[in-house]
């Protein structure tokens, strides 16, 4: 671990030193980063394999006597593993990507910030005490802000960076308060003691839960704390966006798991329900917003919110189970959410990398301007399709696996709890089903509109396939999607080892079905359900073969133009992304509150319009009704304070007079 961080440090220095020569700097920063990540990965794997934590000290801050130490517990190791599994491909990708997408003058900044971010994330996951955690947490925030503001000429990215900073600082404030209250209560700083769960009890516990929920929720981007996410993630360079969406949010998740779920003693049922509720809302709203985006990176960002929601749902189920003292069930639910952390990281990373390639090739982020890219960038297209299918939770790919486990957890939760609470579980399941189906719709749209049919703009028509250095990582991640999808058992088994280390969880002793399959057992029922994707692959291939054989005449097909109602087929006759999501937009108009205005420009008579302009937009509910008023209020209050310093010496003197009189009255024991 130390080695890894030393490497990071060296890399940072190297990157800073070679700032003037962009190429050298790029290779130094990214190469070093890959090396460091590899080292950390080995540490993580080692911990997970052995099941024993690795501790150590990074630095002693002599001045304040604060010791920055780390302790890689199995849980930390899991998150570290996820982090590095993405970090390495991202760095590799960046070697090709930065060359074109990041101006030479900024390479050093980006390279350095990237390494700082990764280092900070590593420390966040491995931190063993309060101060070091907050230290890394802050560092993470700052470096991310720098990355978001990379393109600071753009007003949008400045705004995004600022919004991000503000939101995360409010969050951090909650964390500082929470942790310091804990440490004041225990008189210690080490997580081992702080998060032993015996620190506080009574209402204070709920207050702390609220603080931590807010603090980590902001980073995780759960609704309604999400507003920064769809601004910040797209603003950064795509490979960074991949990192942010895939891993940065998991820092928030990590906190929620480590502190909210397992750090404050046996969770209260209401906490679990809060998690499930927030999770469901985030999932559905997230995917609904994603559905209507035409900026591909914003679309992916919103889908991140959706997946965080799914993760929260599983976690919440686990907490409810813990509250009911059902260790086995809780273990499964938590495992489900942790599994989804991994899977989401993989396919979201993949999708962002793909999007990055596309944006670079077409020079636009609007999918309405793309189209027909599959023929021009076949490999990117293929990988993106794989990612799209994975995120839509289709079998044989990894998305399905984790959602399957989540479903199981929810159903078993229903089967093994009593009272009205139990109805929450199947409802959660139904909502999860809705989410998945909507996600499928969303990504049919995303892939179909941007990669299929005719190019919708000259830029798209002129797109060229990405550099091999950028394709490699995508291929690797796509492959990972398939492997994790076909052998979910292996992942689940690993997770049993991880969950073993968490208090109150009782993972099954003998994991059945080996690497290929997963089984779910409920209390009282054996083999509630199991799944072995590989088996499913067989009839699939069989059916495919049959289809090909049956339709063999189709192999020699005649080509003919698409029928466009007798007209000529152009990009303008194609179905647009907006049109695609129109039905859902109308069905869920309660959520979107869409506003549309149509203006008809006619010169002779209104019945023969020259031009019809149509604009439709969805209302940014949270921004408009929560955040904007808040910000305005603060500024107005600040403005009001101006009168204190209005420039009149007499006023200033009167303050002193007043203070003097008041204090004299006070000392005189009142009048």
């Amino acid at each position: 671990m130390n080695i890894a961080l030393v490497v990071r440090l060296v890399t940072i220095l190297a990157a800073a030193a070679t700032a003037r020569r962009a190429t050298t700097c790029r290779w130094a920063a990214l190469g070093g980063s890959m090396f460091a990540s590899a080292v950390t990965l080995t540490v993580a794997v080692q911990v997970i394999a052995s099941g024993h934590a690795i501790d150590g000290v990074l630095l002693r801050h002599a001045a304040s006597g604060i010791v920055l130490g780390y302790s890689v517990t199995p849980l930390s190791a899991w998150f570290l593993m996820v982090l590095e599994l993405i970090a390495i491909p991202v760095a590799f990708y960046s070697t090709g990507y930065f060359a074109h997408a990041v101006s030479a003058s900024r390479t050093a900044v980006v390279g350095t910030a990237l390494n700082v971010l990764l280092g900070a994330l590593e420390i966040v996951f491995a931190a063993d005490a309060l101060i070091v955690f907050l230290f890394a947490w802050e560092l993470m925030t700052l470096s991310t802000a720098v990355l978001v503001a990379t393109d600071h000429q753009e007003r949008a990215s400045r705004r995004a960076a600022y919004l991000y900073l503000v939101m995360s600082h409010v969050g951090t404030g909650c964390l500082v308060a929470g942790f310091l209250i804990l440490s004041a209560a225990t008189g210690s700083q080490s997580f081992a003691i702080l998060l032993s769960g015996h620190a506080v009890s009574g209402p204070a516990r709920h207050a702390l839960f609220a603080l931590f929920f807010l603090g980590f929720g902001v980073k995780a981007g759960v609704i309604p704390l999400h507003v920064w996410l769809p601004e910040a993630h797209p603003a950064a360079p795509s490979s960074i966006s991949a990192l942010m969406s895939a891993v940065l949010v998991t820092a928030g998740i990590y906190g929620l798991v480590r502190v909210c779920a397992f750090g404050l003693g046996v969770p209260d049922v209401r906490w679990g329900l809060t998690f499930m509720f927030v999770g469901t809302v985030s999932a559905i709203l997230g995917v609904l917003y994603a559905l209507t985006q035409i900026d591909i990176k914003r679309l992916l960002a919103y889908s991140t919110i959706e997946n965080v929601g799914i993760i929260m749902l599983g976690l919440g189920a686990g907490m409810v189970a813990l509250a009911h003292g059902q260790g086995a069930l809780a273990a499964m639910a938590v495992a489900a959410s942790l599994m989804h952390v991994l899977n989401h990281a993989v396919f979201k990373g993949l999708l962002f990398l793909g999007a990055g390639g596309v944006v670079m090739a077409t020079g636009t982020r609007q999918i309405e301007q793309m189209g027909g890219l599959l023929r021009l960038m076949p490999w990117t297209g293929l990988c993106f399709l794989a990612g799209a299918m994975a995120i839509s939770g289709l079998p044989l790919l990894n998305g399905f696996a984790s959602e399957w486990v989540t479903f199981q957890a929810l159903l078993l939760g229903f089967a093994s709890t009593r009272g009205l609470v139990r109805l929450v579980f199947p409802l959660g399941g139904a909502m999860l089903a809705l989410t998945t189906a909507l996600a499928a719709a969303c990504f049919v749209r995303a892939f179909g509109i941007s990669f299929l049919a005719l190019p919708r703009s000259p830029e798209a028509a002129g797109a060229r396939e990405s550099h091999a250095a950028m394709l490699g990582p995508q291929a690797a991640l796509a492959a990972l999607c398939v492997v994790l999808g076909l052998f979910p058992g292996a992942v689940l088994r690993t997770l049993w080892d991880v969950t073993k280390s968490l208090p109150g969880l009782q993972p099954p002793v003998e994991p059945s079905w080996g690497a290929m399959g997963m089984a779910a057992r409920g209390s009282g029922m054996d083999a509630f359900d199991h799944v072995v994707p590989v088996f499913m692959a067989v009839p699939m291939l069989g059916g495919l073969a049959l289809a090909v054989w049956a339709a063999q005449r189709a192999t020699a097909a005649r080509r003919a133009p698409t029928w466009a109602c007798g007209g000529e087929l152009t990009a303008r006759t194609e179905y647009t992304a907006t049109a695609f999501s129109k039905p859902l937009m109308l069905i869920f108009r309660g959520v979107y509150r869409p506003t549309r205005n149509v203006e008809t420009l006619a010169d002779v008579s209104p019945y023969f319009p020259q031009e019809v302009r149509f604009r439709s937009q969805i209302e940014p509910t949270f921004e408009r009704y929560i955040y904007r008023p808040l910000g305005r209020g603060v500024l107005r209050a600040a403005d009001g304070m101006k009168v204190l310093q209005a420039g009149s010496l007499h006023a200033y003197l009167s303050y002193v007079l007043i203070v003097g009189v008041l204090i004299l009255i006070w000392l005189g024991g009142g009048m």
Partner: protein, 495 residues
């Protein structure tokens, strides 16, 4: 003659020569030389203290204990770097022909005089001498406020002097009352006002008189330190003073004033227990932080921004002392140290930016300075990160320590308010820095094209200062740490 007297003599002499005149090169070298020697001497004095001695002179009128040693070293350091930067700063204006003879005399004469006054404060053990020394700092700094001789600088100077003198009157009353409360137990002669004697007499002082005295003294010296609601002179004065003097005021004078506040605080803690003056400090500190916050959010002027930030920081230190307990006091002193190291960077870089654009008004400077003055802007961002208490820099650790002391001392409400204020402050700073540094480059059609940034003395000084501040975040030299510990003992241990 003992070493600490030399420490005072040198800046005084330097001031004298600087005031007389002579060729530019000579003046510059004399000032830098003098201040360097002063710094070296202050280190030597601190060394004596660490070696176990307690340097003193004039019948303990001057006496260097842990607290004095710490403040002495910090102030001497600030004096040195601001002196060097000042030379660079003046050169820039000389090149642009903005400097008159009066300015030269004032600058080279008053800079070391100011340093002298501050050092005198930090060493004096006699409350009377202390008061006189503080008065001297005021008189010395007034002329820096009027330095540029603009309408606004006169206005600022008047306000500064009025509030300052009023504060000093209060401080004097406080001193008199302290003296009165201990009458009969303090003996005769100058020594009667010695802090050490007051400390001995503390337990038997007349409580009411003492209380009144403490209150007035705290308000008085608090005015000099810029605690709200007596802070109102600060933005005006800082906004008008040239940056090098600004640093001396924002760090040197601030530390000195805090030193006085602490001396009073210690006496009252010894006599009445820490709750009384501690509570007062906590209230004033919290008030300062809360007052500073909104003005940082809506600030329109670079230097005033820094002024409010210094109000915030003095507030933070006061809060730390107010929380009390060893942790709080230690945190506050640590904060003082790191603030002393970090603040000059922001003043220097801000000063450079202001000079390049010949204005410190955000609207006049316009945004996107990064493309025009990368070094200064970079340093400014860096210093902003430092003084907002973000990791990996020192103020993060000190603020954490103070916050922790607050929660441990179960001042939950106060600490939470403080924390919230800190967050808003960060947001405000982030916004201001963002709009200043980032953004598209100013269009070439613009007439107000700034001076090109050059690698001159000023720039180098700021770079070095930044380097020191950054290194110090991770490594404070052992002796300095020992000083902080000793100072903590003085303030809390009552040793």
């Amino acid at each position: 003659m003992p070493l600490l007297v030399w420490t005072l003599v040198f800046p005084l002499v330097t001031a004298g020569i600087g005031g007389i005149g002579g060729p530019r090169a000579l003046r510059e070298s004399i000032m830098i030389g003098g201040l360097t020697v002063t710094f070296a001497l202050s280190l030597a004095v601190a060394g004596q203290f660490l070696a176990g001695a307690t340097p003193a002179a004039f019948g303990d009128a001057l006496r260097v204990d842990g607290l004095s040693a710490l403040v002495l070293v910090l102030c001497a350091f600030v004096g040195l770097i601001s002196g060097i930067y000042g030379v660079g700063y003046l050169r820039r204006n000389e090149d642009r022909g903005l400097i008159t003879m009066r300015m030269r005399r004032e600058f080279f004469g008053l800079m070391p005089a100011f340093v002298f006054a501050i050092l005198l404060v930090s060493m004096s053990n006699n409350l009377g001498i202390l008061w006189i020394a503080v008065e001297l700092t005021t008189l010395a700094s007034v002329f820096f406020v009027t330095f540029h001789d603009r309408d606004t600088s006169l206005e600022a100077a008047w306000k500064f002097l009025m509030l300052g003198s009023l504060g000093l009157a209060f401080a004097l009353l406080g001193t008199v009352l302290l003296f009165a409360s201990g009458q009969g137990h303090l003996g005769e002669g100058v020594g009667a006002l010695n802090w050490t004697r007051l400390m001995q007499a503390a337990p038997i002082m007349h409580p009411f008189t003492l209380r009144l005295g403490v209150v007035f003294a705290l308000i008085g010296y608090g005015t000099k330190a810029g605690l709200a609601p007596m802070h109102t002179w600060k933005p005006d004065a800082y906004g008008e003073a040239p940056s090098p003097a600004g640093v001396l005021m924002a760090v040197g004078m601030l530390n000195a004033a805090l030193y006085c506040v602490l001396r009073i605080h210690i006496i009252s803690s010894a006599a009445l227990g820490p709750a009384f003056s501690g509570g007062l400090l906590l209230t004033l500190g919290l008030l300062s932080v809360l007052v500073a916050t909104p003005f940082i959010l809506i600030q329109w002027n670079l230097k005033r921004l820094l002024a409010y930030s210094s109000i915030e920081h003095v507030g933070i230190m006061a809060i730390g002392f107010g929380f009390g307990a060893k942790t709080g006091v230690f945190g506050a002193l640590l904060h003082m140290t790191y603030h002393t190291l970090a603040k000059p960077v922001s003043f220097f870089s801000a000063g450079t930016l202001a000079q390049l654009h010949s204005s410190s008004n955000f609207d006049r400077i316009g945004n996107g300075t990064f493309t025009r003055a990368p070094i200064a802007s970079g340093l400014f961002v860096l210093s902003a990160v430092m003084i907002t208490g973000s990791p990996p820099f020192g103020l993060f650790f000190s603020e954490m320590t103070i916050l922790r002391a607050g929660f441990v001392g179960s001042h939950v409400a106060a600490t939470s308010t403080f924390l919230a204020a800190l967050i808003v402050l960060f947001c405000g700073f982030a916004y201001q820095v963002g709009r200043l540094v980032l953004g598209p480059p100013r269009d070439p059609a613009d007439r107000r094209v700034p001076q090109p940034e050059r690698f001159d003395l000023g720039t180098w000084t700021s770079i070095v200062a930044a380097a020191i501040a950054m290194v110090s975040a991770f490594y404070l030299p052992g002796p300095l740490l020992a000083l902080i510990r000793a100072a903590t003992d003085v303030v809390w241990g009552g040793a």
